[in-house]
Amino acid sequence: MSALTHGHAHEVEKKELVEPDIRERTYIPTLLKGIAITTRHFLRNLFFDRDTNPQVVDRHGKNTMNTVQYPEEKIPYPPGYRGVHRLVPREDGKPRCVACYMCATICPAQCIYIEAAEYDPADDAAESRVIEKFPKQFVIDQLRCIVCGLCVDACPKDAIRMDTGRHTDSGYSRQSFVYDIPKLLGGDPVTHPSDPWFKRGNSTPPDWVEKEAHTRIGAAVEFPKLPASTIEIDTSKPVAVTHFKKG
């Protein structure tokens, strides 16, 4: 036996069965108490307003309902929830994606289809000097997607994210679940100091500090704080250990 349980052997108090009282044997008094409890709930819920706070544990007031009426009230998802994908835009609104195929390669469900196109090297525009490719087509079949988030991890350019906090919208045809660039591109634009278009000789460095803060994953969505745990754990006493007899 370990020293822990040996020193503080728990004695289980056996609750003795008490002979039923006359109140219990005649049913009526205990039944009346039951009715009083039910009626109290009924009256409180009838006469007082329901607190619509989606965080049910934070609700207060006389009304004791803890329902969240779904389409009108939504429980916010925890940070890091993987919602429907988005293609992250640059400050100029074009996708950050450089069509490297990393996401399409790692996708276990093979739901990403990318068709790459090349910038014209003769073009004078800034990005064509530093980036070779851009996605001509970027398609995600949301019916195939298993929402594993590997594409987000694989992306070297922070160009695909699942931080929308939305589900895939419902639709009437399979085709409506195939999302292309116009449907995927959106949300807050993201800029990193390492972005290639800043590496041109004549560029001035942007204001990183300000930009970095809101470009971290999860920073685009405001998540409410979950309440602190109310369970108090007494560490001064040994934890109750369950012993099972062998054999």
């Binding site: 052997a9 728990h10 004695e11 009282d21 009526i28 008094p29 009924f42 006493k237 369950t242 012993h243």
Partner: protein
């Protein structure tokens, strides 16, 4: 709008509805009786009685509409009791004129009623091929008809003499039929309801339906006995089996056992059945509740085990079973009000009310009707809250309660009440006995049972010594054996 404003508005609407319908009943009844009085020689004169108004308003409007509303109230009230908002999704947005206005209003779930009605009426009434067609179609009718017919003899308002000229007056009835054998009719018709359920169980050619039907038949027949016995005390006390009429059970409860006047307002203890026969009330309520086959006596239906005698029914045929259950709730509440809760009489101020509204008999009748339905509504609430509070009985417990508890208690009640009435025909000692019984139950309800007392004592002892760990909060399973 805050909830309590909505709730008070809703309650006011319901009470106003009952007041208005009662006024309409006495108004139409007065019109019919006067028509009959002035055309006494016409061939149709005997037909134009105020009973017609009672049939029209009481049975077809008040009882049926209340039962229809109960289909929603059952779900909405149970939701409130269980901390849910309840049904609130149906909308009246499709209506032609007011649709735009009502588009986003839940209206306390009321649009669910028309939605359910349309659904029930338009669904296919499917009949299994092996079922007996005639009996299968007959069963829902036989389940509904007796329950509805029961509401005919329940006096939901007094017979009032309305005068419009010197010496010219007519008697307006507040009941659809006032036979001398009111209570006997009630027992007879109530026992017919078993045919509907057992036929449904038999005709469906389904094992589970048959089980439900058999359970329903045996349960309802066993509780017949206790049901009849529980009212014998009231019959002896008032020496009548009439329900309606001036010498019926309902009207006689308006008299006081003890009374005094305070500034022209009469106070006192009326001879209501609940004061004279509290045990009789409990027995009758329990037995009649078992007759309605609602939880905690819902073994014939047994949703969680056999689905019950109407398992094969769909569409409006199932709807008939459902609506008959709710009509049963309304009718049972009305019977309890008429027999045990002083019918339409207010608990005090009978004389004051009568003299205040002398000469306006139709309005007096409306006030009486309102009082009756307020009492009945509270009893309806009691029935619903019982359903959502108590655990169900097992089938053998149902039979045990019926035969071994209710029946002997009913017999004892009959003998004790009979002896008391014989000893003191003024019913005062019977009332004292009843109040004593209620006081005992009240005392038991307000004081904790023995187990709670002992646990409190043990806790008080326990707190004196510090054992170092709390075995109450986290009892370690199997610990202490080593």
């Amino acid at each position: 709008m805050p909830s309590f404003v909505k709730a008070i508005f809703g309650i006011g609407l319901i009470l106003g509805g009952f007041f208005g319908l009662s006024a309409a009943m006495y108004g139409i009844g007065y019109g019919l009786e006067r028509l009959r009085f002035e055309n006494a020689s016409e061939w149709w004169a005997p037909l134009a009685t105020s009973h017609l108004a009672a049939i029209l308003i009481l049975m077809l409007v008040i009882v049926m509409v209340t039962a229809t509303l109960l289909t929603l109230a059952e779900r909405k009230w149970s939701a409130f009791m269980q901390d849910r908002p309840g049904p609130n999704r149906a909308r009246l947005g499709g209506l032609p004129v007011v649709g735009k206005l009502l588009e986003n209003m839940p209206l306390a779930g009321l649009p669910h009623i028309p939605a359910d009605v349309v659904k029930m009426l338009t669904k296919e009434s499917f009949r299994p091929r092996a079922a007996s067609p005639f009996l299968f179609n007959l069963a829902p009718i036989l389940a509904f008809a007796p329950v509805f017919a029961l509401s005919a003899v329940i006096p939901m308002g007094p017979a009032l003499s309305v005068a419009w000229d010197q010496g010219k007056s007519v008697l307006v009835q507040g009941v659809a039929a006032a036979p001398d054998f009111g209570i006997l009719y009630m027992f007879a018709i109530a026992s017919l309801a078993v045919y509907g359920t057992s036929l449904a169980g038999w005709a469906s050619n389904n094992k589970f339906a048959l089980l439900g039907g058999v359970r329903a038949a045996s349960q309802m027949i066993s509780y017949e006995v206790a049901l009849g016995l529980s009212l014998v005390g009231m019959m002896i006390a008032f020496s009548t089996v009439k329900l309606a009429g001036d010498d019926g059970l309902a009207a006689m409860q308006g008299q006081y056992l003890w009374s005094f006047r305070v500034a022209g307002f009469d106070l006192g203890v009326p001879q209501w059945g609940i004061f004279l026969q509290p045990i009789g009330f409990l027995l009758f309520f329990a037995a009649a509740f078992a007759e309605t086959k609602r939880a905690p006596f819902d073994t014939p239906e047994g949703e969680s085990e056999i689905v019950g005698y109407f398992i094969e029914y769909s569409g409006m045929q199932f709807g008939m079973f459902m609506i008959s259950e709710f009509v049963e709730v309304v009718v049972l509440s009305a019977v309890l009000t008429a027999v045990f809760f002083g019918a339409w009489w207010p608990p005090f101020g009978n004389e004051a009310l009568k003299s205040a509204l002398a000469g306006h008999e139709v309005w007096l009748g409306a006030v009486y009707g309102l009082i009756f339905w307020v009492k009945a509504l509270l009893l309806i609430y009691l029935q619903l809250v019982i359903r959502w509070t108590f655990p169900r009985f097992r089938y053998d417990q149902v039979q045990h309660l019926g035969w071994k508890i209710l029946l002997p208690l009913g017999l004892i009640n009959v003998f004790v009440s009979g002896a008391l009435i014989l000893w003191d025909p003024s019913l005062r000692s019977l009332c004292l006995m009843g109040v004593l019984e209620m006081a005992v139950f009240g005392f038991w309800t307000l004081t904790p049972p023995r187990q709670v007392r002992q646990e409190a004592e043990a806790r008080a002892d326990h707190d004196g010594h510090d054992h170092g760990h709390d075995t109450h909060a986290a009892p370690a399973l199997g610990a202490g054996s080593h």
